[in-house]
Symmetry: D2
Amino acid sequence: MKGFLAVYTLLLMSVGVMAQHTHGNGLAHSHTYTRVIDFPDTEEYLTLACDFHIHTVFSDGSVWPDIRIQEALRDSVDVVAMTEHLEYQPHADDIPHPDRNRSHHIATESAANTDMLVIQGAEITRSMPPGHSNAIFIEDANALLIEDSLAVFEEANRQGAFTFWNHPNWTAQRPDGVATLTPFHEYLIANDLLHGIEVVNDLTISEEALQIALDNDLTIMGTSDIHGLVDYQYGIAEGGHRPVTLVMAAARTPEAIKEALVAGRTVAWFENTLVGRAEHLGPIVRASLDIIDASYGDDTAVAEISITNASNAEYLLENIGAYSFQSDLGLVRVPPHGRTTISVMTGEVLDSFELRFRVLNAVTAPKERLEIGHTVTVD
Amino acid sequence: MKGFLAVYTLLLMSVGVMAQHTHGNGLAHSHTYTRVIDFPDTEEYLTLACDFHIHTVFSDGSVWPDIRIQEALRDSVDVVAMTEHLEYQPHADDIPHPDRNRSHHIATESAANTDMLVIQGAEITRSMPPGHSNAIFIEDANALLIEDSLAVFEEANRQGAFTFWNHPNWTAQRPDGVATLTPFHEYLIANDLLHGIEVVNDLTISEEALQIALDNDLTIMGTSDIHGLVDYQYGIAEGGHRPVTLVMAAARTPEAIKEALVAGRTVAWFENTLVGRAEHLGPIVRASLDIIDASYGDDTAVAEISITNASNAEYLLENIGAYSFQSDLGLVRVPPHGRTTISVMTGEVLDSFELRFRVLNAVTAPKERLEIGHTVTVD
Amino acid sequence: MKGFLAVYTLLLMSVGVMAQHTHGNGLAHSHTYTRVIDFPDTEEYLTLACDFHIHTVFSDGSVWPDIRIQEALRDSVDVVAMTEHLEYQPHADDIPHPDRNRSHHIATESAANTDMLVIQGAEITRSMPPGHSNAIFIEDANALLIEDSLAVFEEANRQGAFTFWNHPNWTAQRPDGVATLTPFHEYLIANDLLHGIEVVNDLTISEEALQIALDNDLTIMGTSDIHGLVDYQYGIAEGGHRPVTLVMAAARTPEAIKEALVAGRTVAWFENTLVGRAEHLGPIVRASLDIIDASYGDDTAVAEISITNASNAEYLLENIGAYSFQSDLGLVRVPPHGRTTISVMTGEVLDSFELRFRVLNAVTAPKERLEIGHTVTVD
Amino acid sequence: MKGFLAVYTLLLMSVGVMAQHTHGNGLAHSHTYTRVIDFPDTEEYLTLACDFHIHTVFSDGSVWPDIRIQEALRDSVDVVAMTEHLEYQPHADDIPHPDRNRSHHIATESAANTDMLVIQGAEITRSMPPGHSNAIFIEDANALLIEDSLAVFEEANRQGAFTFWNHPNWTAQRPDGVATLTPFHEYLIANDLLHGIEVVNDLTISEEALQIALDNDLTIMGTSDIHGLVDYQYGIAEGGHRPVTLVMAAARTPEAIKEALVAGRTVAWFENTLVGRAEHLGPIVRASLDIIDASYGDDTAVAEISITNASNAEYLLENIGAYSFQSDLGLVRVPPHGRTTISVMTGEVLDSFELRFRVLNAVTAPKERLEIGHTVTVD
């Protein structure tokens, strides 16, 4: 009797989703989400979810490359790169003398008939300095089997690679976990041989790496560095997700993605934290959040508004504007793909007014959060 | 980046739903449903969810009538009747000498501006025989305050009431719980003064009451008889629902509903069991279930088909047809508002074939289940 | 007060519970909680969940008082007061001339054989000033039916009442929603006739009321002011909860609770926000959080520690200590009755070290959050 | 074998679990389960969950053997065998000339320091007849690289193998999906060279294979035949599970498991169906179900009893005893690791009485279900 068209539509999509609507600083309500990583495009760019650090049995990973494509399809990751260790081949007894491009080729075949992009890459695996680095957008990984550390960066760049420093906070190479530039890195950067740095790697995030990126104009990267299964490592069944780099690209092409990486237009997405320069993070957050349904109750000067969220992040907004709220004490949570209603005490009835928030889960520099403003127009 | 229009639509509806897709005799997967009671209309009739046995503070219930309307709106119950005990008024100290129509009038006001129908009713509350009975579609409950048990049925019928015997299996009046006709009931039935019987009341269901209904041409009724809160009594938050009578009515009007009740076109919906005469249960089950996407795999004689379910019931289907399945050993579960895929071994590739099931959760008589057939046309 | 034993008991009772374990600044994972309101006792006091503002059919509520006891039992609320409007009796046609103590007496009977305490109360219902106020711990509500507003406060205090100002931010009485003291209130406070103020009422919270409480030494109160059903108003099935006042009492007795209220030992619990003076909020937060399993990884100076949470609040901790973390950029979430693991970069291996957090969901004054420190001892 | 202790441990591990309690023929309530496969031991034997058909990159699977151990640990599978195709090596370009025991050896290393047993196996991969078969408990897979199909069975048996026919219903070898013995199979069976048959393989179950097992005294087997990821293939996150063989073994040793297989003491567990000979299925079902808390209500002859379920199966019980129930019309569902309360109308108050059920999800032969009786003693 009752219309369930919407439900039926969803059913056919076989996609589980439960909408959320909280009120002010609410407890996150129980919900079920798909694992889909989903951030909106900005006005200028496509927002592409990219994982540029992935291993398979062709170095020290535990799966065939086809599984990496299946995982990425389930996560709605748009772009991947298999980045096998060039120099570390623990499965060599079983997979002897592999072509260092083999993993990329199998992954590319597995991704045929999908719209996933597979970028050719490799991991340059050295003791510190320079530690580990990835080269992506390369032409031939075999040509990177060069003993001298500087020469391998030169060859990667000769191939047109975008290179980035992996897990500079790795305790196996930095026991204190503090990402720190070495003279070798400074040389690479000065000579435009190193272009990015992992601020996020697997289960870790590095404030010091973020500072290095900002100080040296390096692209901010977030990667999974997955060796086992994505589902196990990130608790996908419990709502977790792999870290990715959100790349703001002019098109869904390798060229456009590389251009964006070189230009530094990235945001790393780690657990519930977005990390990026304000000029990149701002557009993504603003594209995620919208304010709808602003109206005053009868005979009141309290405006009720709804903030919607078109992204996977749960935004934590600290009120830094002129007005206090009736719905909370200035900490507003907007659930992923949900919305929150807040009540703003504007003193008198206004046609429009200004809200201002510090976005606590959007980090632009160590200890600094993105600030956003929004002019609310009353309906 | 990804299309989430469907999700956004659902979001605005603030309705939680998680689609289910199982395979053959699958474990029920974890899911979240709305509390909405939802059975499809049949080809001939509307399927209306009705609760004709409800109490408030105006007899021995614990809520004001407005709560009964809120509960029913949340349950998507289409039709309710407040049926206060005429003779049992434990709140008389606080609510003295009440107008016996008062509860109905408040409920009617509360339901204004909704499409819920509120039918006037009362509970005739006697020791056995005749025990308790409801009269609905009455004109004035006060006029039913008559000492003689027969006279009250006559007056109710004079007002045009549809009457039914409440909880004939109630252990307070039948310690063994076995519904049994008395000569008084036989007289009422013989003289067309009693028209229905509760096969389902609250948390109980009665095989013997079902047999009495079938033997005496009484309408099969299922009601909540709620006194406290529906949410607590039926574990709504955990996925439970109140029992209702599904009335197959020609229109969404009191007249059409009464006509359907008098004609006996009802099915009781209790936990996961549907109880009704085959001629009424069949159309509802057939409207609930559909078979889509029938096709043979390449070079096989095994047809894969999907059975969809447009209702709240989880159908349990026992295969009684000519073919065995690859997907299960003949017990198929079709989740509520979900679907199940089965694989049928038809021996050779056929253009169409016949499936036949016993519907284990659709009861037509004691120990008897509805049987349905379906001709599958291969795409 | 209830602690994890209650949770374990619940498990054995076959009531759902799902513990959470997140990692740093994680997304809240999907989970199912009981509705039980549960904050630990502090070293000095019992922490009692109290709702001192409740209506029934005996004023303008929609349920009999027994439902209020059932709701409170399900919420694990320790103490309730029925606070019917003395002067506003919209059900007077049906419930004429009620004894103003009647609601309290029925509730008390309903709570017999439970360990719930029912405190006698009433709501003094006036236009502004002074607006609405509750008097609890009274002897006879009928004696408060006095026309003069001052006289009713005097009589309540003569009876030994604890009185508090209800919803000072109510837009029906303050269209701008801004809680503001009037001279009448100042008189009441100066003469010790008014002792508390609702910082939290139903779905609203008031920064200005909090400031008034701090400036005037009034007890901070949070109440539901429930008229309909708690389950509907607060979305209990979706994980919501009613607002309560956490009272820090020396014993589970009316006398001890009143003593605590007079002494101002309260914290209001609203959605995910705790509001109270630092000297009260601090002990509750510290009793909620514990640090366990601190250890350094082999050959690293990064300490991994687990923060456990024995309460219903999801704590949002901002790192304001000396060390940065590998697990997040300084925003740590500790899920309700769950735990979070963080990695602390202490520079070198230490036997013990100091962590310091701002607790973003624990508000001590407008724009001010509780700060806590914890010395971690490495295992 | 694992019992509730495992669940309790899981709780302490902060892994979600939600117990279920339904009432009669209830809708399955929303719930979250761990993926743990858990059936109780019987009075005589341990009940071990075994998966004897598994592939890795060493034949045509997509993961390294270590992932198979991780999956099995998460599923609480007690015993596994890697069964690589001897003759089908699609990864030979990358993994040339592998030792056919290599997969087993890596898996064994990965399972060190766990209590999982890894049994050595291989898949004999032929066209029909005899199709594919597994040999487990072998000594050297390389010695099975023999061209003649009969000779390979003879060699496997010389090594002491237990052998079974894989997916006799596979449409690639039997387009109609109907398992059918060939003369070659009859020869193998007659000469004790073939000992079991897969009634369950991956997503399929075969009534005809069950009949072949019963007619020829073959051991009933259920296996995953996993090539990709268990989590994806069986919808683990949505509550699914891999098929397994429950082996009733005298000890948790390879010898005892082999003895049980040779003796035919197995039950296959597929979706929600258990398949086995009545003498094996009966003890497992009886160990799963218990009746507790039988008592009559005051002044009634209706006994209320609780049926508990210590297993992963949701039991569907059809009442075939002498008494009807008040709680349902004879179809009782007992949720996994939950319980159900039913009300039995025994006519008069009895000290003890007999219940009898057909277990609809426990299949002993085509179209035949296990029947169980239970004497209820009233407390």
